[in-house]
């Protein structure tokens, strides 16, 4: 992709989505000039019916910078992956989330299996549904300036291991907005942002997925005003090993409703989310600098919130330079209720033998990287700070002792976790209010 086209591309994408214009300042002004210098962007309109897939694919192959491809109301029967490579600033726009349906039910195998595969900058997808793809519904790789607005990824059969992995799936992208979207039935994660930077996920819904919303190995993400319910796990902030982007940090999770995530795990054997216990609300794993606040977290039957390091998964770590610890965590001002009343899962069963049959709202494995201690104490930037969460209860289940083959000394004491805690800065994406 040509970075030289980037500014124009992103500006064009923003304008064509009808978003509010960029806030004042020199840089947005520059982008406006470069857009007005271009000829009017091309618009291609395609109706459902015979040959629609070919028409859409040809439009994508022939797309010009800044082009809008309008998909009319109706159901498009699509039997192969639609793909856009390289052309910057393309928008695909439907007539409404439930009005324009790209139906991949008749998809043939051997063609990759994604619904939409995009490797381009400044891409916008809005106002349509992508349903029943063999693998990921919408995969966007390596793009700068990506927006999904009013988009639904759906598997109509409900939870099934045969469903595709990810619903909305930007990976290795920069400046990503997911707004007013919905994901239902993904056998991995419904809304999944991987290895990306500068991300906003808001006003969206995820239900009946294994993981509702997952932010993985991503830096600077704001996740707010979403509802995640009826999944196996509601909202995950993970960092996993062996990926090109090794770390994840600066994630804010706030004003979300994360409740009733009690669906039996239907993830495929071998996938990391297949190990997520049913009944998990929020799971923070191995991620750094995460602030979780002002959320309503309720009725997740294993635990409303789990905070763990990667070692607690029992999985091997191949890369000695990779950091498996969750550090710099700030959990405050959330409203917890219900949940913890029916914990399930293999590791959870072992844990239940230690702490009993009803789990507290907040489960913490207590793992700390001793190498980071200074004079015996962990510097504040690595601390886990938990405060002002109403009457939420807490346990540190001392995974370190378990891993060492000893007897864990559990603690219900939040006193070691008092403190100021860091307030993370808001994510700013140029042109997004």
């Amino acid at each position: 992709m040509k970075r030289s086209m980037l500014v124009t591309a992103i500006a064009a994408a923003l304008l064509s989505t009808g978003c509010a214009p960029p806030r004042g300042g020199a840089t947005p002004g520059t982008t406006a000039v470069s857009v007005t210098a271009e000829p009017a962007p091309k618009v291609t309109r395609i109706e459902p019916g015979e040959g629609a897939r070919e028409k859409i694919q040809e439009a994508l192959l022939d797309s010009e910078e800044g082009e809008t491809i309008e998909l009319a109301e109706g159901t498009f029967a699509i039997d192969q992956t639609l793909s856009l490579f390289d052309t910057a600033g393309v928008t695909i726009r439907g007539a409404g989330m439930d009005k324009t349906i790209l139906d991949f039910k008749g998809m043939i195998s051997g063609a990759g299996g994604e619904g939409l595969l995009v490797k381009a900058d400044g891409f916008t997808l809005r106002d349509l549904t992508v349903q029943d793809t063999q693998s990921d519904a919408i995969k966007i790789e390596g793009g700068h300036g990506i927006q999904m607005i009013g988009v639904k990824a759906l598997w109509t059969a409900g939870p099934s291991t045969k469903n595709g992995g990810y619903g909305l799936y930007p990976v290795q992208c920069h400046d990503v907005l997911i707004d007013g979207c919905e994901a239902v039935g993904a056998s991995d994660a419904g809304i999944y942002v991987g290895q990306s930077e500068n991300v906003i996920v808001r006003n969206s819904k995820a239900h009946e997925n294994v993981a509702g919303i997952e932010i993985e190995n991503t830096t600077a993400a704001d996740v707010y005003d979403n509802e995640s319910y009826g999944n196996t796990g509601g909202l995950l902030v993970f960092v996993l090993p062996d990926l090109p982007k090794k770390d994840g940090r600066q994630c804010r999770v706030f004003n979300n409703r994360i409740h009733d995530n009690n669906t039996e795990n239907f993830g495929a054997e071998g996938s990391i989310v297949s190990t997520v216990p049913a009944g998990s609300g929020v799971i923070l794993m191995a991620s750094d600098e995460v602030e979780v606040f002002d959320n309503e977290i309720a009725d997740n039957q294993t635990a409303n919130l789990m905070l763990i390091s990667y070692q607690s998964t029992g999985r091997p770590i191949n890369d000695p330079n990779w950091d498996p610890y969750a550090e710099g965590i700030h959990i405050h001002d959330n409203r917890f209720s219900g949940g913890g009343n029916q914990p399930t899962g293999p590791l959870i069963d072992e844990l239940a033998q230690v702490i009993g049959g009803t789990f507290p709202d907040i489960l913490y494995d207590g793992l700390v990287d001793d190498a980071k201690r200074v004079d015996g104490d962990l510097p504040p930037e690595y601390a886990v700070v938990i405060h002002d969460n109403g009457d939420a209860n807490f346990i540190n289940f001392d995974m370190a002792a378990t891993l060492a083959g000893g007897v864990p000394v559990v603690s219900y004491d939040l006193a070691p976790h008092q403190g100021e805690g860091a307030k993370l800065p808001a994510v700013v994406i140029e042109g997004v209010e």
């Binding site: 043939i108 993981a211 062996d242 990926l243």
Partner: protein
């Protein structure tokens, strides 16, 4: 917007495919070959000029005319990234006519009378393509030469056309069976970069139409074992071409014509000859300075006379997997390198744990467990038709029973005691900047 001609849902009966001249009506595009229409000046749009330039490069290269001059105006504009293709395959002038049968069955140059300057070729071990019969042809510009590489694709000059035609016979047991042409995939080298597309053969089998967006064709045939087979055959779209042909440096690179895979006999019309020797003799290959007997030579995967079990299995894995699974390929982050030249057992999967295979691992722990094919992820994946599990991801819709059996035998033959790791996960992944699915 071109039309994609739908194909009938059944195989074409033999009598419906008379030997006939492939003679598409002259189109605007074919006229470009005849002269300097692009010199008319102002009336011709820049876009058309560009088209003329492209056509001139493609066609003049083939018929020996000098390359067209740069049209006025084009110099000040960046060349369009997208290459403009002729609407019909016939405009490449590769084939004078199409025959109803292929004289040498699945081998040889196929059911074609070749135009002058077109060289048919074959590969020692080809990619498995759902049992289709494949015919490969190359045409270099007059007097031009490809530069030899033993373990990489040759360097071809601008104007080179590589064409691969996919076909199904009515009956695979008979070399004289009627052959139905499905598609011809064309690579053209233009301005230093390769371009790729597919052309879809019409029901009359007289010509093939440009099909950049891909297509599904219903095919059926009697298989080698006498059983009837059916398949929704997939013609790839242009982006899918890149799925296999893309490298770190180029959108598209040829995969087949490597020295080691061309170093074998081919049945030419004039008789059987070693392909490298033939290319040298006809003047289209330079740079092969060693005796052909000493040049790298890939085994023929199903011919025990050409190599032992390991050599044939590795040749098969190389051609079917290593376009992604190589140290610079799309699957490099997996750390699995199935290139023929890789000699480190762990890198070809022996006792190697998957990096981010997810469901693709099917709960198995290692890519290759010596002596235990059924515990090896490599076998699981080539035996699968399930999306997100099956390998390769593109271009295969059937299980290649014979290929799977070859790999099964190879894994079974490996010494179970060799290189057993002390603990799982002892092999370091090769991780860099490519995206992979993870969680």
């Amino acid at each position: 917007m071109h039309r994609v001609m739908p194909l009938p849902a059944t195989t074409v009966p033999a009598q419906a495919v008379p030997a006939q001249k492939v003679l598409a009506p002259l189109t605007d595009q074919s006229q470009y070959r005849q002269g300097g229409r692009h010199r008319r000046g102002n009336a011709v749009s820049w876009r058309r000029c560009w088209h003329v330039l492209v056509m001139a490069a493609v066609c003049c290269a083939g018929c020996g005319r000098p390359q067209a001059p740069q049209p006025e105006g084009a110099a000040t504009q960046a060349p369009a990234k997208k290459f403009t293709w002729p609407a019909r395959l016939s405009e490449f002038d590769l084939f004078e006519s199409v025959l109803p049968t292929s004289p040498a069955g699945s081998q040889g140059s196929g059911p074609f009378v070749l135009a002058k300057g077109v060289t048919p070729y074959g590969l020692n071990t080809p990619l498995f393509s759902d049992y289709s019969w494949k015919y490969r042809h190359v045409r270099l510009p007059d007097g031009a030469q490809a530069t030899y590489h033993g373990d990489a694709a040759f360097d071809f000059p601008d104007g080179t056309v590589l064409a691969k035609t996919f076909a199904y016979p009515d009956d695979m047991r008979r070399d004289d069976s009627t052959v139905r042409l499905i598609e011809t995939r064309v690579l053209v080298k233009h301005d230093g970069e390769w371009q790729a597309t597919a052309y879809l053969w019409n029901g009359q089998q007289t010509d093939a139409e440009l099909a950049r967006a891909g297509h599904v064709s219903q095919v059926s045939w009697i298989h080698d074992d006498g059983s009837p087979r059916e398949l929704d055959y997939l013609v790839p779209n242009v982006n899918q071409c890149k799925g296999c042909h893309q490298t770190a440096e180029h959108d598209i690179m040829p995969l087949g014509p490597k020295g080691r895979n061309l170093n074998g006999d081919f049945s030419y019309a004039a008789g059987t000859a070693n392909q490298l020797a033939h290319w040298q003799a006809t003047g289209i290959l330079a740079g092969l300075d060693e005796p052909i007997d000493a040049a790298p030579r890939a085994a023929v995967w199903d011919d025990t006379a050409t190599g032992d079990l390991a050599a044939r299995a590795r040749a098969y894995l190389d051609v079917n997997c290593a376009h992604c699974h190589n140290p610079a390929g799309a699957a490099r982050t997996t750390g699995l390198d199935l290139s023929l030249t890789q000699s480190e057992p762990a890198r070809i999967g022996v006792w190697k744990t998957p990096v981010a295979a997810g469901r693709g691992a099917g709960g198995l722990l290692f890519n290759v467990v010596p002596g235990k094919p059924d515990e090896s992820i490599v076998l699981l994946r080539i035996y699968s038709l399930e999306p997100q599990v099956m390998m390769p991801e593109l271009g295969r819709r059937m299980i290649h029973d014979e290929g799977v059996e070859l790999i099964r035998q190879w894994i079974a033959s490996l010494d179970p005691g060799a290189g057993v790791p002390d603990t799982p996960g002892g092999v370091q992944p090769n991780v860099d900047s490519q995206p992979v699915d993870a969680g």
